[in-house]
């Protein structure tokens, strides 16, 4: 074997190592993307199984508001997914908020707030304003949110707090409860 060949092999190995290294983070981000794609779809799917009080729904041709409060883990996927979609006869509009007080006119608000105290304040603020609050953890409905995403056995599931839904004057379809991972605040209905 000549030193020239040796050089070449080293080059190939370097290239392979480089390729391997670059591939790994790409894979991880793809998985994450898949998770939030699903969650974005779920957010939109909730519209079909939740009944808002008539006063809380948009009038005329006003858009159906799906808001993201705080950090946006969807990274634009929500907009691209919901672009041009209709929700209960209205065009869907995705809005981003920093402050919870701006979000109480929305029908669905994804609370991307990781800070526990602040999240509590947000929930207190939105509790009675007929907003379907959706959080990114199983603790979210326990803390007073209506729906909380959870990943169970590599599948995106969600928990529901029925009491919080009641407080927000929201009626959840039994079909939704049927597919929920855990339903809180429903003493008569044992958890599956």
């Amino acid at each position: 074997m000549t030193p020239r060949y040796r050089h070449r092999i080293a080059l190939l190995a370097l290239a392979g190592a480089l390729l391997w290294g670059s591939a790994r983070p790409a894979c991880a981000s793809a998985l994450a993307a898949s998770e939030y794609d699903i969650k974005a779809a779920y957010l939109y799917n909730f519209v079909k199984f939740v009944q808002w009080p008539p006063a809380a729904l948009p009038v005329d041709d006003k858009p159906f508001c799906i808001g993201v409060l705080g950090d946006d883990p969807f990274q634009g996927r929500l907009e691209s997914l919901l672009n041009g979609k209709l929700a209960q006869g209205h065009p869907v509009a995705v809005q981003h908020f920093k402050n919870q007080s701006e979000a109480d006119h929305c029908q669905i608000v994804f609370v991307g707030v990781s800070d526990h105290d602040r999240r509590e304040a947000v929930l207190t603020q939105l509790a009675t304003s007929s907003v379907l609050t959706v959080g990114d953890s199983a603790k979210f409905p326990v803390d007073g949110g209506v729906v909380g995403f959870d990943v169970v056995q590599d599948r995106v599931r969600f928990d529901i707090n029925l009491k919080a839904a009641e407080t927000a004057h929201l009626t959840l379809s039994s079909d939704l409860l049927k597919v929920a991972h855990t339903v809180h605040g429903a003493p008569a209905q044992p958890n599956p």
């Binding site: 779809a41 049927k178 597919v179």
Partner: protein
């Protein structure tokens, strides 16, 4: 088929009718049932399709959340809710991207399902044994999933089976009913024909063409029986004519045969008489020669005896008796030789008187002979000898009819016949009648027709008293015609 037709042809009418009604009823019923069943099966396909779509819709709505939130377990549970629906064999759920999401099958695992159609509409496909549908589920305006359901057609087969059972029983009942109705009908139709057969049999048995069949109601049969009766009438009429001709012929044959017998008898008698006549003629010839001798001797004796001698009376008596005997032998000779008859003009009264002397001797003492002779009788043309003989024949026959004595009356008279009342059918005109009657035992019509024949009493003839009778046969043959 031909054998079947031939077999049907051999059946009696009522059974033919029975078969006809049974087959017609059965065929009509089967056709009816077949169209009804076909219609029902076609309708059933639509009904089943609609039902499957309804199931799919409910299933789709119930499983929409499971599909949307990716809960295959829940979706499978929802699909499994089809288990009580016995005829549904498999079901599957596809998500909006057409990927298989959940599936259920009744018997064992079935993992391969055809992809749903890309268009958002219902699809149905059915084979002989199963039907499958794809039904898209749209929720709130967006396509959520597509439901696939497969159903077998056992329900259809069950229906078909039920229909077959019902058709079988109804057909049986209808056929039985048709048979029940057509049997008396058949008898009704066959009865007049059988009656006709019976009558035809009776006619041929009794040879009686006057029998007639009762005319039944109903156009064709009535016509049939009427024609049959007319035929009988014609046969009867022709048979009557034939019988009449036959009877007449037979009568003629009998008459001719009798006549033939009679003629044979007459011929026999004539031949007998002829030979007897010839014998008598021979005897008369010899006797006449003897009489010539006697008469010659008597005349020469008369010439020798003096006129006043008492012996002269005896000689004259010998001469007279000899002359009478000669006349008798001449008569015998005339009969025996069948002399040609020479009719001459005769005074009947004179002839009767001269023959009366001879009759006196012929018929004996105990019979009185009386004469009733019409004066101015006129003359008739006949052979005197023959007429003499006739008188002798009749007188001898009369004597035989009166063995213990009696009275013989001889009458002559003029009569006029009108040509109608006389049984001998003589033409009308003036006649001279000679009638001879006796007081004897009388005679039958049969005897009457033979009264002119000699030897009427055969017994008498056999006793040998034939002297006066033979000539009257030939004579009476001639006298039967008018003079």
């Amino acid at each position: 088929m031909n054998r079947f037709a031939a077999r049907i042809e051999q059946l009696p009418i009522d059974q033919k009718l029975l078969w006809m009604s049974v087959v017609a009823t059965g065929a009509a019923l089967l056709l009816c049932a077949a169209s009804l069943v076909t219609y029902d099966l076609l309708t059933f396909r639509d009904t089943l399709h609609n039902r499957l779509v309804a199931f799919a819709d409910i299933l789709g709505r119930n499983s929409a959340s499971a599909v949307l939130f990716n809960d295959a377990t829940s979706a499978s549970q929802t699909l499994a809710s089809l288990t009580p629906r016995a005829n549904i064999t498999a079901a599957a759920l596809f998500n909006a991207h057409g990927e298989l999401f959940a599936h259920w099958a009744r018997n064992g695992a079935r993992n391969s399902f055809n992809a749903p159609p890309s268009q958002l509409d219902d699809r149905v496909s059915s084979t002989l044994y199963q039907m499958e549908i794809f039904h898209p589920v749209v929720l709130d305006g967006s396509h959520v999933s597509t439901v696939y359901i497969q159903s077998n057609l056992s329900e259809r087969n069950r229906r078909l089976m039920r229909y077959l059972v019902i058709i079988f029983f109804v057909s049986g009942l209808s056929v039985a009913l048709a048979a029940g109705v057509s049997r008396p009908m058949g008898r009704l139709i066959a009865a007049p024909i059988l009656n006709l057969v019976h009558i035809a049999h009776e006619i041929s048995e009794k040879q009686d063409f006057s029998i007639r069949a009762d005319v039944p109601a109903g156009e064709e049969l009535a016509l049939f029986v009427q024609t049959f009766n007319e035929m009988l009438g014609r046969i009867q009429a022709s048979g009557y004519v034939l019988q009449k001709a036959h009877d007449e012929l037979e009568q003629k044959v009998i008459e001719r045969t009798e006549e033939l017998h009679r003629k044979e008898e007459e011929l026999y008698q004539s031949r007998k008489l002829e030979s007897i006549g010839r014998l008598a003629g021979g005897v008369a010839h010899d006797f006449n020669n003897l009489l010539t001798g006697i008469l010659g001797c008597a005349e020469s004796l008369e010439a020798e005896i003096p006129t006043d001698s008492p012996a002269r009376i005896d000689v004259e008596e010998i001469k007279r008796a000899s002359e009478r005997a000669a006349a008798l032998t001449r008569q015998l000779l005339a009969f025996g030789r069948k002399q040609i008859i020479r009719p001459t003009s005769i005074d009947l009264n004179a002839l009767v008187k001269s023959t009366g002397t001879l009759l006196r001797r012929l018929i004996g003492e105990d019979i009185i002979i009386a004469y009733e002779l019409q004066p101015d009788l006129g003359h008739l043309r006949a052979d005197a000898g023959q007429l003499d003989q006739l008188l002798i024949n009749l007188a001898v026959n009369a004597r035989d009819a009166m063995p213990k004595g009696g009275k013989l009356l001889i009458r002559t008279s003029q009569v006029v016949l009108d040509g109608e009342s006389d049984p001998r059918e003589l033409p009308a005109g003036q006649y001279i009648m000679l009638s001879i009657s006796d007081t004897g035992v009388g005679m039958t019509r049969d005897v009457q027709s033979k009264i002119f024949e000699p030897f009427l009493r055969r017994r008498v003839w056999e006793k040998g008293r034939a002297s006066a009778s033979p000539p009257s046969m030939a004579w009476s043959n001639r006298i039967t015609g008018p003079f």
